[in-house]
Symmetry: C2
Subunit: 229 residues, 2 copies
DNA sequence: GCAAATTAATGATTTATTCAAG
DNA sequence: CTTGAATAAATCATTAATTTGC
């Protein structure tokens, strides 16, 4: 993985230096139960760490909490502009040709929105060709899907404008009816309806639980139509 | 950490029962290096586990990878409708009045998009009043912010329609210029511009690194204007 | 009074946009 | 100008309110 990241990491509750005029505790214990938000929750001590050189093996896979919204802007609120990136590591992921190749094969194979497990696997796999994090994989699919779609949309429009009035108003705007080509090899049924569940998942390691029935679902129906460029 | 979640957990690469006609390996080693996607990446064995009663203390905090998109729909693709929620645990989070109260205080205090650390803290805090996961907190802020905004927008429009032509075209549509009331106690400067960085963060535990300068920023400037209803 | 049927809220996801690094 | 990263808007789906018929 690539890592590097900067990070401003957050220290804990340490009641650092309470800025001028800021009530020590809110104590919103007024309604139902005697709940009072502990001070700890109200003011932290955020201190940007040093550059963070990016350990070659730093992949501690802390796993990046979904909501890992850093909002490093908070820091900006005060006065340290802390541009984070600072030194050392590069800022954003720069996929190697190999990585892209693999990703595209998967994409063409029909993968559109990999789940956490798949992302983990893919990340691990792509890690062989260079630094990469799960979020990169996640974003890549997100962006690729969106951009592929808009590309097709533009193309469709041009086609319509060019061939003028050939077809009435066929397929080209069903909210996603664009990708009428191949793509969606799988994922085909249940297309229009939104699927449920997301977040949850992530097998719990050892997994000793009640391993009742195993359905063994095939996640990558991908027919290797591609095989190469 | 708190967490517990249900889960349909996904088993690994176990080349379970390779469905009819599915090439054992894609081997897209055709371009640059000799990269060949291992079979493991191409077909897994997804097997929904038993109902998952929701252990009172099962919260192992696997951490919920940001991209934890489960896409349990994949399962649907085949034939097991596996509605996940199954038994025991309820499906969606149902905030207790206490939890909501706390969340609202924080919101009014100016918190809009808590970072992962804050979410962790909040989750832990709210966990005292009932089950809750980080994602719930994350979503709550996301939704609350959005809905509060649209509420104000509607209100603003009504006001304009009612008071007719009192003010020319003052403040009411700067993309977010709506929340002109209070709210944004902090987060005020840098409003219009998107902040950078997000994901990364999550201090690395022990943190022995070069703890150079600590800025100790105040994250919750919240002035307890509320204090109670 | 109560349970099916509706509606209103709001939790959870996805899609569209925007920002900015390279 | 391409594209990784991040956020906001739009949607979908459940659950709590509530209304309605008995």
């Amino acid at each position: 993985m690539r890592l590097h990241h900067f990070h401003v990491a957050y220290l804990d509750k340490a009641a650092g230096s309470p800025p001028p005029s800021s009530p020590p505790s809110i104590s919103l214990a007024s309604q139902s139960s005697s709940a009072a938000i502990p001070l700890a929750l109200q003011q932290y001590c955020l201190r940007p760490l040093a550059p963070k050189i990016s350990f070659p093996e730093a992949r501690k896979m802390v796993v990046l909490p979904e909501f890992a919204r850093v909002r490093n802007a908070s820091s900006r609120l005060l006065n340290c502009t802390v541009q984070v990136p600072t030194a050392g590591g590069t800022t954003r992921w720069n996929p190697s040709p190999d990585q892209i190749r693999v990703l595209e094969v998967l994409y063409r194979g029909g993968m559109r929105t990999p789940n956490s497990f798949q992302i983990e696997q893919i990340t691990e796999e792509l890690g062989k060709y260079g630094r990469i994090e799960g979020k990169n994989v996640f974003y890549w699919f997100q962006n690729h899907k969106a951009r592929e779609r808009q590309k097709q949309k533009r193309a469709a429009l041009l086609t319509l404008n060019t061939t003028a009035s050939t077809l009435p108003v066929a397929a080209a705007e069903t909210k996603d009816g664009v990708e009428t080509k191949k793509e969606q090899a799988c994922e085909d049924a249940s297309s229009r309806k939104r699927r449920f569940r997301t977040w949850d998942d992530v097998d719990h390691g050892g997994g000793g639980d009640a391993a009742t029935d195993d359905v063994t679902l095939e996640l990558f129906p991908l027919r290797p139509q591609g095989k190469a460029s």
